[in-house]
Symmetry: C2
Subunit: 321 residues, 2 copies
Amino acid sequence: MTHPNSNIETILITGGTGFAGSHLVDALLASGQKNIHVTSYGTETGHVGEILPSTQIHPLNLTDFEKTKELFEKVQPTQIYQLAALASVGSSFDQLDTVLSANTQIQLSVLSAAQEVCPQSRILSIGTALEYKPKETALKETDVLGPVNPYGVSKVTQEMLAHSFHRQHNLDVVFTRSFNHFGERQAPGFVVADFSLQVAKLTRSDSASKEISVGNLAAKRDFTYVKDIAQAYILLMDKGKTGEIYNVGSGITHSVEEVLQKLISLSGLNIRVTIDEKKFRPIDVPVVLADIEKIKKLGWKASTNIDEALKLTFNYYMNNY
Amino acid sequence: MTHPNSNIETILITGGTGFAGSHLVDALLASGQKNIHVTSYGTETGHVGEILPSTQIHPLNLTDFEKTKELFEKVQPTQIYQLAALASVGSSFDQLDTVLSANTQIQLSVLSAAQEVCPQSRILSIGTALEYKPKETALKETDVLGPVNPYGVSKVTQEMLAHSFHRQHNLDVVFTRSFNHFGERQAPGFVVADFSLQVAKLTRSDSASKEISVGNLAAKRDFTYVKDIAQAYILLMDKGKTGEIYNVGSGITHSVEEVLQKLISLSGLNIRVTIDEKKFRPIDVPVVLADIEKIKKLGWKASTNIDEALKLTFNYYMNNY
């Protein structure tokens, strides 16, 4: 899975101190890469601060094109993992506007800087399952797009913008549409992280009342362990076909209820689950499933089974919160 | 083609003083509508300034959400034709950023104002053939998107954003993907307007040298007369299915060369055509053709043949430039 010339690569991971970014740094270091630079938004570097020299961590607001270009000139990357994006924060006009314009500007900065500074570099542009118009069966890369929230819209925009640079300026871009992933260091707010944290807290609590209140448990999702996702990104950077989109997911679904029961069983406790309809989302897509034939042909599939991955995740929350 | 309750409609056309907008106002007035409001960007109102009372023309920068909302509160539209968008102006970072963010903000303003002020209104969101990933055969609404320039990207974003409001807030939105259109009052910069203007100028010029210098003539486009496009928009507002996308085009192609020869023949002159490779675009898609089965089923097809439409257009440029 390593590039034939991997020792001469200069790797830049935008958003590299984030959740998937930090696991990607782990994986690249493990594969022998040394020349890995990351951008961080703000000065919090978390796990990556412990594993990369500080000279390779660059606090940067990527919406600032001039500063982005300066960094590209300094680093001269040959591979760019474009992981940076703002997640959805609210539903007011101003907040929607912020997410949409920040994600557009981030992508435009990175693409423009690559075009001007290192037009031969290869870029992996990270998209999401949320770009698709939902359907109950497996989503193929050629399926119709139709995001149901502005975050999904902004990710479509990022993808289309990268596509236009690929077509118009011959930039070498490979695309993912990544499905749900989870694992150590994911921020609460995502379902597996949330549940793991709640169950871990109950496990350590002295209180006799062991109860967890949840929203819709029926939703089925295509969950993949984040370290498998990181391996997929490295593979796509090495072997992905330019201009092509690849679903990254496990190709199977588990219900949210199943995940919760597995976590409860890891805790060894007798936890009562109550359903709170207030926690239901206005639109909850019943099934999100990836068709992964395309990436499988490149030689990747998720190799960590869900029980093992949930155990690692649960242990992380037991030890860190 | 008129709505059963058309007399009670309050119509707002954003970007209504523009090219397609002005023909839409003509068509709505001709169908008996009176309560037609338009927004104009800046104070230039052109043709619409002559046919609508000034109280129904509202200078407005639609990227300003608060001002947009104020207008919606005043007008209380029941039908909104969302024609407003900035066209691509250049290729620098700042200009790309401007087009992308302006078109995103315009759409977000209009959708948010509709959601807050008139959530029962019907919105027609205007997209473009430039949203599609080019192919040589007829483009269907379910085909893969992949714009080759940032203007196309911004139109995908507008569409996806409207789709997300339709799904998340139940806004009643119908979508077009409109193919090339031409006719009176189109600004030079578009191929038919450009050629018409050049041939009209040569026709009136005293100079013995009758020569026209052009770029790639081989490209084939799906050209439709703008007044047919306006009828399509009115039909879709009345009968389009909510949440659905409709190609709007003629379903046939003509080469750019054919169009030029027809215009030259209208001039009655013997004009020499020279090819200037400098006028070739870096990427010129060879064929753009609409599959129009979907809108045909609603009862629309382009009814003006290209010879008649080119004659009307040529006469306009003869009389107005």
